[in-house]
């Protein structure tokens, strides 16, 4: 049963966890964006980063519990962190 209660865990997962996940996500977009020069690729990741953050924030808030919220955000963080590492150290 999903809980509508807003807990500190959800708030932290959405704000702090969401922020760091957004950072690794935008780094991944910057590294993988195939169009334009390097400056264009930086803006491709950076210009909409807070839109991603907003989505992640509500993704965490809509979780059934604080733990589940961290689970959601944490798994995305790991996914994008792996993409970053692979893009930075394997395909370069």
């Amino acid at each position: 049963m999903a809980s509508s209660e807003l807990t500190a865990g959800k708030w932290l997962a959405g704000s702090v966890g969401g922020f760091f996940t957004t950072v690794v996500m935008t780094v991944a977009i910057t590294l993988l964006w195939p169009f334009g020069d390097r400056i264009e690729q930086i803006f491709a990741g950076g210009v909409f980063f807070f839109v991603f953050w907003s989505v992640l924030f509500y993704f965490a808030m809509l979780a059934a519990s604080g733990l589940r919220a961290w689970g959601r955000i944490g798994s995305l963080f790991l996914l994008f962190a792996v993409i970053d590492v692979v893009a930075l150290y394997v395909f370069r």
């Binding site: 999903a2 390097r38 400056i39 210009v47 807070f50 907003s54 808030m61």
Partner: protein, 491 residues
């Protein structure tokens, strides 16, 4: 959408609004003077109001007349205002302090612009909350982010939006008036609020994340990333060499980018063999303020160009952010529309907080300290700005004018917060009404003093008359609100 989802969005909307409401009001309301900073600069300097406009800027004359105190191996900035007839030159001193000088565009003579800084006092509240760099800017960016989250939640929870578009029950209850007002204004200004939140967050927070992205894309060399965007730094060689005339360099820059509307020139290492000059500004008919041409000042060779139109969509979006946020396009009517929407946005923030606090007060049967703090901070800011304008108007030609403006601004704001907290047992409407009387009085004093001391209704630029007229209208609006509040208390 199921009930669980709606409830989560509703609760998040409420809590975010309560926690960040005062900050949101400060940032959104201070956006109003920040949008009109150019007009306020003219208003605050009667000495520069009636200069004749010039057709063409003589750049070389400005460099020749700059004087010894503006000579620097670092950057000297020249900002000409052809329509206003003067140019501002500025540089950073040894302790990073700003050293500036104002020259006439007619003959290059030095002008005395007075000592007021009220326009920048308000502008800095919007851009960095007068906090140390870059924390203030980030905090303003976070406010934009919170605004975006509130907008998203607001859209989700207002399911009966067709009906709410036209509902405003003025004569029912205070609570219904607040609720209808919040929803009505929220719906009507939704695209504008989203645009401001979007652009404001980019301006405030991109600096937080772009170094990380630059680090990833430029193999850890952030300087290389900065150089790719803004061009190279001058390499001072220690060998004196005569640069080309600045007018000639300006022509070369325009030959490279014919529709560049130059707003600023930056001279680095002037007089050295490695000197550079950067002309930057906007492109005509384009939403971009990241246009620039950098030239070697000795040879006239172009060393770097920034032109958003030659980049992809994301660069163009970024280049359009500042013009969109500060209305650097369109005419005065568009600015007026922005101003009205900014006022509406500020009113939405306050009414949203008041709804929550009114609900709490009914439940607890006593005024909540947060209601008093909200009233003191939000109305206090308007009152403090009005008081600063009044002081600015009456203290012209005094050397400590900027100090008086700033002192009165913070003092009045703090005092009104204290008054609201101490007298919180009074009805909110009573305090609100008294505040409105004071705001009107301060604004009338500001306009009255400016009219009498500087004869501003005759001969002054249209912009100055426009500022005075706007202040008069706000004063009349405050009087009307005060009168209505007093009347509703008696009934």
């Amino acid at each position: 959408m199921n009930k669980h989802t709606i409830k989560v969005f509703y609760d998040t909307h409420s809590w975010l609004g309560i926690v960040a409401g005062i900050l949101l009001f400060i940032v959104s309301f201070s956006g109003l003077p920040a949008m009109f900073v150019h007009e306020l600069e003219q208003w605050q300097t009667p000495q520069l109001r009636d200069l004749p406009a010039v057709e063409r800027v003589d750049w070389q004359q400005l460099v020749d007349q700059a004087g010894d105190d503006m000579q620097t191996q670092k950057s000297l900035f020249i900002v000409p205002e052809a329509e206003l007839g003067y140019a501002t030159l500025y540089r950073r001193g040894e302790d990073k302090e700003l050293i500036s000088k104002v020259l006439s565009l007619q003959d290059g003579s030095e002008l005395q612009p007075g000592h007021s800084d009220v326009a920048h006092l308000f502008e800095h509240l919007h851009t960095d909350l007068h906090l140390p760099s870059p924390f203030g800017r980030y905090l303003v960016g976070f406010a934009g982010m919170v605004m975006l989250l509130l907008i998203i939640a607001g859209v989700v929870i207002h399911t009966k939006w067709r009906q709410q578009f036209t509902t405003l029950r003025i004569t029912r209850s205070w609570r219904l008036l607040l609720t209808d007002h919040h929803k009505l204004l929220g719906l009507w200004t939704l695209p504008f609020a989203a645009l401001l939140a979007f652009t404001g967050t980019i301006l405030g927070l991109l600096g937080l994340i772009s170094p990380v992205l630059a680090l990833a894309k430029f193999d850890g060399n952030v300087d290389a990333a900065v150089e790719a965007v803004v061009g190279p730094d001058a390499e001072i060689q220690g060998v004196a060499q005569q640069p080309l005339p600045l007018n000639r360099l300006y022509e070369l820059a325009l030959a490279a980018q014919p529709d560049l509307q130059v707003e600023r020139a930056e001279l680095t290492g002037w007089g050295d063999a490695g000197a550079l000059v950067n002309f930057s500004g906007r492109a005509r008919q384009t939403l971009s303020n990241l246009q620039s041409v950098t030239l070697n000042a000795v040879s006239g060779e172009i060393v770097h160009q920034a032109d958003a139109r030659e980049h992809g969509p994301f660069y163009r979006i970024f280049a359009a952010v500042t013009p969109l946020h500060y209305v650097m396009f369109g005419d005065e009517l568009l600015k007026l529309f922005y101003a009205l929407c900014t006022l509406a946005l500020s009113a939405i923030v306050v009414s949203g907080m008041m709804i929550w606090l009114d609900k709490k007060q009914r439940r607890d049967q006593r005024p909540h300290w947060l209601a008093a703090l909200t009233l003191g901070s939000c109305q206090g800011l308007v009152l403090a700005m009005a008081a600063a304008l009044a002081v600015s108007s009456v203290s012209h030609s005094m050397a400590a004018q900027a100090l008086y403006e700033e002192t009165v601004f913070w003092l009045v704001w703090g005092l009104w917060i204290a008054v609201c907290l101490l007298l919180r047992n009074l009805a909110v409407r009573t305090l609100l009404s008294h505040g409105c009387w004071l705001i009107a009085a301060a604004l009338l004093l500001a306009v009255g003093a400016d009219s009498v001391l500087h004869n501003s209704w005759q001969g002054s630029a249209v912009v100055v008359k426009g500022v005075n007229l706007s202040l008069l209208l706000i004063a009349l609006l405050s009087l009307f609100v005060a009168y209505r509040l007093k009347k509703t208390q008696n009934t």
